[in-house]
Symmetry: C2
Subunit: 200 residues, 2 copies
Amino acid sequence: MADKAAPDSARRSERSRRAILDAALELIGELGYPRLTIEAIASRAGVGKQTIYRWWPSKAAVLLDAFTAGGQAPEGAGAALPDTGDLEADLKLVLRAAVDEMNAPAYDLPARALTAEGLVNPELGAHFVDRVLEPSLRLLAERLRAAQDAGQVARDVDPRVAVELVCGPLTHRWLLRTLPLTHEYADAVVETALRGILKR
Amino acid sequence: MADKAAPDSARRSERSRRAILDAALELIGELGYPRLTIEAIASRAGVGKQTIYRWWPSKAAVLLDAFTAGGQAPEGAGAALPDTGDLEADLKLVLRAAVDEMNAPAYDLPARALTAEGLVNPELGAHFVDRVLEPSLRLLAERLRAAQDAGQVARDVDPRVAVELVCGPLTHRWLLRTLPLTHEYADAVVETALRGILKR
């Protein structure tokens, strides 16, 4: 009996955990951070509030787990970026994928609501940056460092600055909605950043 | 009598208007956009609510006027950017000034609160971008176009993309607080953007 009960219970727990994380992502997009509550997450997930409090201390903790566990931040998933030896092609591939993600409501709504709250709530902002954003930036910096070791990137370029040079403009368009965020834009950013603004 | 009353009245109006705009900027930084009210602005400015409603239809309208009229967005003030013929020096001057502004609480608090609200409130976001952000971006694009006409900037570079290449990274650090936003960083962004990431 115990042999059968334990896996069932683990399966139910995992199902509840998944339902809670999905509910948190849906609701942050619908309500925004200030109006999101543990009660609302519990109700949407079909669990009791105590189930949530058993695993997470706060709504912020639920949301950050939802983001990192939910495949909502695939670039940060720990896998290395493509390295075909062609830096321009590899960066375009990664940044076009980032554009697709930013334009997808399932990512845009929760990520935008969390980012907006993080701007004015420094503690949440720092957790979001550490857990969601920095892992992606570090993977890109590693790819650029590899290109530098291979002699493709200028010696005096700081890989971290180079990463922000390509990610900053995309994030700017995504968050501020200044102009359309397209594959063409991602390509133009990569080309201009790689070759520089000045006439050679 | 009328000759004396009119200027007095105009002076009082201007004093009230200035007090309302100052109060709006202070309070958005203290309370954030959702908790800011016309009542609170009136109380802080020492005027009646009706005085505010006579001039502005909403708190968003007050805030946007506060930002554009208050010298909080000096780059957008319509003046052309410096053009000494040295694009790198001119860009560094402008971006170091932008860094100083972003790090100054009098700009940071209201601009951050308005930006955060604009992320999740598309109508306010669009007004903020049109009134506060785009004028600065256009001035920078004009400066880059002049450098392109002078043969300094590569023919195939889109001046708008080039502008976002230097502004995007600064905005990224300012809003997301990933790493310190310093003059050294502004210089590194300008140098890397102008000369490019790739080895020449």
